[in-house]
């Protein structure tokens, strides 16, 4: 690099890096420090307790429960969201009728794109508030109200949605209902992401495949999916982060924030309870650090598994 350019680049980067160090990296380091203490959060005194908080973490039943609930989202959320997003993106870009020349999306795909993308423009908490009305558990709820009118739901036994801890396929119903919202709100973004990636696939490849008589299903699995591998891998990691969070939905939508009776407890809600209700910031910091390590290990693993030689187009 020529002399001068380095100085130019450094000059531009210094401020953002300093801000990042101070507001992101330093609090992380502080949290790691506090996780080794019994700090209560309201004073500036604390005792060093070594790794006690981490030992306690592995014995804590509530943490274990929250962990498995996060794992549930970790498995289902990326799988369902990516599958659905791929399907929609394929239909909107190359899924159009094959009886005419050229490769195009289904009829009206421009409109669908806007509709599917729309939830992304809303804050997650706005989405949660909106779905509270959809899920409301009496005749004024959107779903319950309609189903009661047509007689599919008994007035005395409305669907409880996020207040329902009964297991469905071994997982509390409340988590499935939250999953539905998470998928609904996320799928549009990944659809657009995959659409963009699909547009960069040269049309000639599709045309060649069509000429060879490939069906739409074949084109998807033999052409589209392999060429989208990198994008899907990135989406997988992003969705993994979201699945390990889920805080806003749990906080706004479930009874007693993590209920009923811990049925929707997740890492973040346990951290919130431990820090802000129990006043055990040290222990809560240990949970947060554990979660951060888990998240990073997971991301590294996912990227490693999905890595493969890049295909030059």
């Amino acid at each position: 690099m020529r002399h001068g350019v380095a100085r130019f680049v450094t000059g531009f980067l210094a401020l953002p890096v300093a801000l990042y160090l101070f507001y992101v990296v330093w609090p992380f380091a502080q949290a790691a420090g506090y996780s080794l203490t019994d700090w209560g959060g309201y004073s500036d005194t604390q005792n060093f307790v070594g790794l006690d908080n981490y030992v306690r973490l592995f014995k804590d039943e509530l943490v274990r429960k929250a962990f498995w609930h996060n794992v549930f989202f970790l498995v289902t959320l990326p799988l369902i969201t990516i599958t659905l997003a791929l399907f929609l993106a394929f239909l909107l870009n190359v899924g159009g009728r094959g009886n005419r020349a050229g490769v195009r999306g289904v009829f009206g795909s421009a409109l669908y794109k806007v509709i599917f993308f729309f939830p992304i423009t809303l804050s997650l908490v706005v989405i949660a508030i909106m779905w509270q009305q959809v899920y409301r558990s009496d005749d004024q709820g959107l779903i319950n109200g309609v189903l009661m009118k047509i007689g599919l739901v008994d007035r005395d036994n409305p669907i409880a949605f996020t207040a329902d801890p009964e297991p469905f396929l071994g997982v509390p119903a409340v988590l499935w209902w939250l999953l539905l919202i998470a998928v609904w709100s996320g799928v549009g973004f990944y659809m657009v992401l995959f659409s963009a990636a699909m547009q960069s696939i040269p049309k000639d490849i599709y045309e060649a495949a069509l000429l060879d008589g490939a069906s739409r299903v074949h084109t998807f699995f033999r052409v589209t999916l392999p060429l989208l591998r990198d994008t899907v891998a990135v989406a997988w990691v992003y969705l993994g982060f979201i699945a390990l969070d889920m805080y806003a939905l749990v906080f706004v939508m479930t009874p007693s924030q993590g209920g009923p009776n811990h049925a929707s407890e997740i890492f973040a809600s346990v951290i919130n309870f431990t820090a802000f209700q129990k006043g055990q910031f040290g222990y809560a910091c240990a949970m947060a650090v554990a979660l951060a390590i888990f998240t990073m290990v997971l991301a590294a693993l996912q990227l490693r598994i999905t890595r493969r030689d890049r295909i030059e187009l």
Binding site: F28, Q30, S43, V126, G259, P260, A268, Q277, G279
Partner: protein, 470 residues
């Protein structure tokens, strides 16, 4: 006793702020937690040191300023603005910087260890855990406020307060929390409707179960309650436990005595609630506080259990002719303490230990607790203040029925301490109250699970233990 209640509907602003908080918690949860601490030496007070007198018992310096944070929930904040004017009558040269919020903990907790506000109304769903504040030495004992002369009546501030207010604000032998409102809980009904239908408001469980079929015959559900926030049903359950088993039984529960939950009286207090659920006398659906209150106002249910802030909270949607009337929680004839009423002071103000102008904070509290301030409080909020005589001149059916109930209350006031003492038991009892009222557990399972949770807290050395004596 803190009253973690008003859980106002999410407004757009709190929503955005909550979204921001949630976003922060996402991956860098660690960062959020850590961002609050810091080390700073204690600063000398900036506002004290002036000469002390009857009208200035704490020696607040003229020209100083005091930062007051008001919880703007079900009671609104207009009363606080009027207190500010009352304060200014005696102290025109002290600046009161008042702000109101619903997010007390979110906004004030991060400042507690460094530069807190001078006076904080620590109330609402987003309030700071009281035991933690005291155990961490983060708030100031206010015993000298109690012995100071009252603002506009004879005697001391302590003399001017309703019974229970000082005890409610005391922990470990010191007075920390100044509760300014006095709340009464019970079963509410619409007196106009009951008169029209010729229904006699029940006082015992038997009378209620006899009346219930008649209510159902009118297409109404006999009972509704907030099923989303566990502390709502817990008020009712704990009131029934107290009535059936007596004061000492609840004191034993609060003190984590062995087997305190499993005595016969406790179970007897809960069994009518189990029957109420089993007999399907609840309005179907899991409604929150405002939804359930609106359903009751809409005539979908005959009774709702909640405290005296109800009228103020629902003021905008009360139909004309609807007479909100409070009655005591039902009891059984052979209950030990059937006549004890669930009432107590709430809406607690605290003064942070590191507040720069503690003297002015205490002086402001004196103004809040004044006769004049309390009367305006009752008038504006339709709730009693913890200063004596606040409701004497207010004409209102809801407040009048609460007043009448308080006058009948000859015995002790029902109060429960363990949720304030132990966050774990607070959570567990909320969860189990929801479960019992949803019919997913029986009364017997409720007491057994609570006993197990209490035993676990008792054995946990990392939790500081509290004792209740009265």
């Amino acid at each position: 006793m803190s009253l973690p209640r008003e859980f106002p509907d999410l407004t757009r602003r709190t929503l955005l702020r909550r979204a921001a908080a949630a976003g922060l918690l996402a991956t860098p949860a660690a960062g959020l937690l850590a961002a609050c601490a810091g080390n700073e030496p204690d600063r000398p007070s900036s506002g004290g040191g002036a000469e002390k007198s009857k009208d200035n018992p704490f020696g607040v310096k003229d020209g100083s300023s005091v930062k007051v944070v008001i919880f703007n929930g079900g009671l609104g904040d207009q009363w606080a603005k009027e207190d500010k004017a009352i304060f200014a009558e005696k102290h025109p040269n002290i600046t009161v910087n008042m702000s109101s919020t619903q997010k007390i903990k979110t906004e004030e907790q991060p400042k507690m260890a460094t530069t807190p506000s001078d006076l904080i109304m620590n109330s609402g769903a987003d309030s700071m855990d009281r035991s933690t504040l005291i155990n961490e030495g983060a708030i100031e004992p206010l015993d000298d406020l109690l012995t100071a002369p009252a603002w506009d009546s004879e005697g001391t501030v302590a003399d001017s307060l309703l019974p229970g207010t000082v005890a409610d604000g005391t922990q470990n032998g010191k007075f920390y929390v100044v509760n300014i409102a006095f709340t009464v809980w019970g079963n509410w009904y619409n007196a106009a409707l009951f008169e029209k239908e010729g229904w006699q408001p029940p006082t015992t469980w038997d009378e209620f179960f006899a009346l219930a079929p008649k209510i159902k015959a009118k297409g109404m559900a006999p009972y509704v309650h907030d099923a989303v926030h566990g502390y709502y049903p817990r008020w009712a359950l704990m009131a029934s436990i107290w009535k059936a088993a007596g004061k000492q039984a609840v004191i034993n529960i609060d003190n984590l005595e062995d087997g305190a939950w499993q005595v016969d009286g406790v179970l007897k207090g809960l069994e009518p609630w189990e029957k109420l659920v089993k007999d399907k006398l609840l309005l179907p659906g899991q409604l929150n506080h405002t939804q359930s209150q609106q359903a009751w106002l809409d005539g979908k249910a005959a009774f709702i259990q909640v405290g005296t802030w109800l009228k103020n909270e629902m003021a905008a949607t009360i139909p004309p002719g609807f007479e909100l009337t409070l009655s005591d929680y039902w009891s059984n004839p052979d209950d030990v303490a059937a006549k004890d009423v669930f009432a107590g002071s709430g809406e607690g103000f605290v003064v942070p230990s590191k507040a720069p102008n503690k003297e002015a904070a205490k002086e402001f509290l004196r103004a809040v607790l004044s006769k004049k301030g309390a009367a305006r409080f009752a008038e504006l909020t339709k709730s009693l203040a913890s200063t004596k005589g606040s409701g004497d001149n207010v004409q209102d059916s809801a407040l009048a029925s609460a007043n009448a109930l308080m006058k009948q209350a000859t015995g002790d006031l029902i109060s429960v301490k363990f949720p304030d003492f132990y966050a774990d038991l607070d959570k567990e009892s909320q969860n189990l109250s929801e479960e019992l009222m949803a019919g997913r557990i029986t009364a017997k399972q409720f007491v057994d699970k609570m006993q197990a949770a209490a035993d676990k807290v008792k054995k946990d050395d990392s939790i500081k233990k509290q004792t209740r004596t009265a």
